[in-house]
Every structure is written in structure tokens, then in C-alpha cells.
């Protein structure tokens, strides 16, 4: 069994429109992949469809997490199987503190009858908060309520750090972060990098890839991965824009 997240021929519909078309992508543990692509091309759709969001209808394909098809699983089961989403637009949960929220998520990963140990939990939580330079006072604040854009993104990474997923998909975690926050968050993500974890970074900017250097870069276009390469592909995209990809894509058709 290969330790990888394998997306095979995935097609996804939203409200009768096909957004992802026969998409293929493999993310092995230990690697960081970046996905870039123009607005509306289906990057967030991919992330949400993987997580099991009810609005996204899988019309064909498979998603194997370490060999196991997760498309049959409920949203929470997929998460407990080791899949994590850092959302582009995280929800606010009034009345539920960050500490209680993460605690419930950790508790859900324990075996039946096991109880989370409170002191250990807080020790781990404070450690990760310090790493991400989040004020400890945030533990008692309601999840994302009244948070600035950057604070919300940091909170996503905090949850990722606390839940130790096998595969993390980070949807535009870099947008809305100022230069300092970008560095802090990137440092945090780099610490979470390792042989036990695959990371998929969705981004519009090459800048974050200077901090979190990817093993592979994929370009998504119109619901498909149309080009893959190394880190230099991101630089090239930044220089040339997406039109270059478009031309490359239409060329063979023109020739035919």
C-alpha cells in the first residue's frame, strides 16, 4: 500500500455545472505540492470535494488515501482518516472557544473510552500557539469570531498543527497575510513538513513558495491539471502569466 493521496479521474459537479473534469493528481507523503491557476478554475472546488462538502457532487473518479477510497466516507470520517483542509474562508463559530473546538476534534480521534488529558492538551496547544505567534488569550475566544483575515489563517494552521493530519490541503493560506505573518505561517508549515505528511498548497503567488519550497508545482486550468513541473514552473508562471499556458494548450488543437 502506497502512502499517498491519489486522485484518479475525478469529475465534480456543482449545481449541474461540471467544474472538475477528469482530474488526476498524486500527493505522496513527505512531499509538498503547489497548485496554481486562474480564478474560478476549480481549486477550491477540488479542496471541498475532497473534504466531502455536500454541495459538490462527485460524478466519477476515485480518491484513495493510503489506498483507501474516501469518497464513501462522511466529512468527519475523512478528517479523522487524516485529511485536513485549511480553508480559504473559514467559518465563524460563535460561542465555541478555540480551546474547546480543538479539544473536541482531538477527542474525536481517540479510541472509544479514552479521555483527552487536559494538561497535556494545553501544553501542546500553547506550544503551537507560541510557534505561530498567536496570543494565548485566543484560546478562550470564539472560533474565528471577529478575527482579522490574517488571524483566521493562522488559526487554520494552528488547527492543522494540533490535528497532525497525514494530508493537508491549504487553500490560499497566504492571501490576506502581511509579510511578517507570511513568514511566521510559512515557518510553521515548514515545521509540519516531514516524511509522515503530504501538503498541497493552493496559491496565486509565487512568493509563499520562496518560503515553503514545493517539490512539485501543478497548473490547474478549467477543472484539470494541465501542466506539472518543479519549483521553476511557478517562477515562469509569474513572469509569463496564464496566457502562456492557454496558448500552449490551444496550440496542438490549432495544429490539428
Amino acid at each position: 500500500m502506497k502512502q499517498q493521496l491519489e486522485i484518479k479521474n475525478l469529475s465534480v459537479k456543482v449545481e449541474e455545472t461540471e467544474i472538475l473534469k477528469d482530474l488526476n493528481l498524486t500527493l505522496p507523503r513527505g512531499e509538498v505540492h503547489a497548485i496554481m491557476g486562474p480564478n474560478g478554475t476549480g481549486k477550491s472546488t477540488l479542496a471541498k470535494a475532497l473534504s466531502g462538502h455536500p454541495d459538490y457532487e462527485i460524478t466519477s473518479g476515485e480518491v484513495l488515501l493510503d489506498g483507501e477510497n474516501i469518497l464513501e466516507m462522511e466529512v468527519d470520517e475523512r478528517a479523522r482518516a487524516g485529511l485536513f483542509m485549511a480553508f480559504q474562508y473559514p467559518s465563524e463559530i460563535p460561542g465555541v472557544s478555540i480551546a474547546n473546538f480543538i479539544r473536541a476534534a482531538r477527542q474525536a480521534r481517540l479510541k472509544e473510552g479514552e479521555e483527552l488529558e487536559a494538561t497535556q492538551f494545553y501544553k501542546a496547544l500553547y506550544e503551537k500557539m507560541d510557534m505561530l505567534q498567536i496570543d494565548r488569550k485566543f484560546t478562550s475566544r470564539a472560533v474565528n469570531e471577529g478575527f482579522s483575515g490574517g488571524e483566521k489563517k493562522r488559526n487554520e494552521i494552528l488547527q492543522m498543527a494540533m490535528l497532525e493530519p497525514k494530508y493537508a490541503i491549504m487553500d490560499e493560506t497566504d492571501s490576506g497575510l502581511d509579510i511578517d505573518a507570511l513568514r511566521i505561517v510559512s515557518d510553521g508549515v515548514n515545521k509540519l513538513r516531514g516524511p509522515e505528511r503530504g501538503i498541497l498548497l493552493i496559491t496565486h503567488y509565487q512568493r509563499i513558495l520562496d518560503y515553503i519550497v514545493p517539490d512539485h508545482v501543478h497548473v490547474m486550468w478549467n477543472g484539470r491539471i494541465v501542466k506539472s513541473g518543479g519549483k521553476e514552473l511557478a517562477l515562469e508562471l509569474e513572469k509569463k502569466g496564464y496566457d502562456w499556458i492557454k496558448e500552449e494548450l490551444t496550440e496542438p488543437a490549432a495544429r490539428a
Partner: protein
Amino acid sequence: MKHELTSRETFDAYLASQKDMPRWWLDLKRESWDRFHDLPMPHRKDENWRFANINGVDLGGFHFGQNPEGEAAEKDLLERSEQVHQRAGRLVFANDRLVHHEAVSQKLSDQGVIWLPLEQAVRKHEDLLRKHFMAQPIKLGSEKFSALHGALCSAGSFLYVPRGVEIDLPLVACHWTNGPNSAVFPHTLVIAEDLARVTLVDFFASHQRHARNYVCGVNDLYAGPGSRVTYISAQNWGHDSLAFHLNSTQAFREAYVTSLNVNVGGRQARTESHSQVLGEGAHTEMQSLTVATGSQEFDQRTLQTHFKGHSVSDLLYKNALLDDARTIFSGLIKVEEEAQQTDAYQTNRNLLLSPTAEANALPGLEILANDVKCSHGATSGQIDDAQLYYMLARGIPESVAKQLLVFGFFEDILGKLENEEIAENLRSLIRAQFD
């Protein structure tokens, strides 16, 4: 021999058991019994019963004075009555039978504090009882059931706190039902004289979670001038029970009364709360938290009457509804002409965690004074799908996610409770509804 609850045989047997009680008490019982039979059953058209399931209000098939499981069960119930360890005294009843009486300290009794089971109080403190027992007007629709309570009630706690005496720890009363179809009539009477301070907690529960019982409880609070009275109740009757809890609060000059009812039990549970502001500068807080699950109906009728001004009454009823549950909130604020400079608020908030749950709200105002601040409002919110998805995406199972949202919804009340042990008890009661 089991008799129908409302039959003559039931009452005769009860009177026989009361033959050593004072004459006035027996007279009051007879009078109440007659009144119960004279009063009509609630009618669909009664404004006080709007939206309620009238058909569910059926006293048939209940029995009084049974104790089928005897002393073994009582011992078990006593062990389960340890919710609050730090307490000033305790009373435990099972099927209206006194199981345990833990007196107050010598110091408190030397100060004149009286903490007794109701029947003993009736014998020893006739003046106080004649003045206060069932002396409050019942106006919110359950006059008939209140009369039955008056006729058959023997179990309950009587608490008297003399002028200036402050009790730090809570007094605790536990009322249990045991066995199927038993009927109980728990009573709570708190009298706090001038400047006294006291907290009383009532725990109501059935021995069996799905029991069918009939309950009609009355709790009356008398808060003398400058006193501080805190009353908390946790209602966890069996889920096939019919329950009434009728409250009346009298707040005199500068008194501060807080009441919090937490409701999770019953098939059909009705609370009636009447807060009477009788003195200038008095303040009453009326709070309620309900978790309605399955096909439960919680029916809440409230009245805030201001007879005197410079006073405050603040009502906040929060209902979390799951499954096919229903709630009814009907509240009225009445400010008499004389009660100038009154602040009266009434808020009902409903959190609907299921598309088939139903929350009804009937807020109301009747203001005769012209210099007042009053507001009433009811809101119902569906659980937000995006919030639920976000929690699921963190691996939190749906039932736990809903539980977190409910605790989030209740936190503004639970988080402010001063007594952490009581707060934790209430939390675990709420948590248990999600298992």
C-alpha cells in the same frame, strides 16, 4: 391496590396518611381537592394554552403514593443525589417520600435558619406556613393543576432565612420518581427576610430515563427587602412524563432574585413563572435553558408584573431544539401605572438544530406607566450549514458538533454561574442529551 390519581380513593387514602397533621392543613387539602374537581380542564381556545398539546394533558393512568421498589431503590437514589458536595443542607425525596434530611449547621440553626421537609415545617411553623404556603396567585393557565398540587402535596423543602443571615453554600433538594406511572408533587418554599442571602438548588429526575410519570411541582420564592435569592432547578424527568412546574416570585424593595431553570426531561413539560416586583428598586432575573429532543414539548409561560418602580426584571429563555421537538414561549410584561422608571426585558432565543423542530413564540407587553424602558423579542435561528460543515471537516462527529453549538448558545448563562460545581452538573445534564 392502585387507584387512579384523581379518584376519591386516592384522596381518602392520602388524608388517612395525614391524620396527624394540623387541622388547617387538612382543611386546605380538602378545599384544594374540591377546587381541582370544580375547575375545568384547559381548553384549546384558552389563550394560556395556545400551541400546547392539550390532548397530552391527561392525568389518566397515574398513581400516587406508590413506592414499588422500596428501600433498595431509595438507597440507590440517595447515592445519586450527590450532585453538589459543597452544600449547607440537603433533602432527598423519592416518590414524595422523605429519604434523607441533612440539616443545616448548628451555627445556621442558631441564627434562626429553618431547613425542613415540608410536613415537619407544617407542624412546627404554622404561622409561616399559613402565611406563605400556596399563597400566590396562579394566573398562567394551570390553576387546576395547582389545586391538585395543593391537595396532594406533602413532599418538599421549606427554607426560612432570618433577617441579615447570609448562607454561602447552596441548599440542595432532590426529588425523584421511581417506577412507572407514579405521580409526585414536589414543593419548594423559600422565605428570605430582609438582607438575607441564600441559594437553593432543586434537582428533579426520574429513576428511569424513559419513565412515564406525572409531576406537578410548585416553587414559591419570597425575597424580602434587600435580600438576595438565587434559585436553580434542573429538570430531568423521564422522557414519557407529563410535568408542570409552577413558580411564583415575590421581590420586595431592593431585593435581587435570580432564577435559572434548566429543562431536559419530560414528554410534555410546562413551566409557568410569575415574577412580581412588589417593592421599589427590586431586580429579578429569570433565565431558562432547555434542550428539547425527540418529540418533546416544552411549554413556557411567563409573567413579569411590576407594581413598583425603579425596578428591573430581565427574562432570557433559551431553547435548543433537535429532532422533532417543539417549544412554546409565551411571555407578558405588565407594568402598573405606579411603577415608573421600570426596566423590563423579555427575550426568547431558539436555536433550531433540526429542520423538523418547531419553536413558537408569543411575546407581549402591557404598559400602563409612561416612564419605562421595556423590550421584548424572540428570535429563532437555524443551525448554519457552513458552521456544521466546518466542524465536521475537523473530524468532529455531528452530534458533538451540535453539542458544541448548544453549549456555545448557552454559554452566556452557564459561564456566569458563580458555583462551578452546580455549573458542571448542569453541563453534564445537557451533555447527556446528545448521547
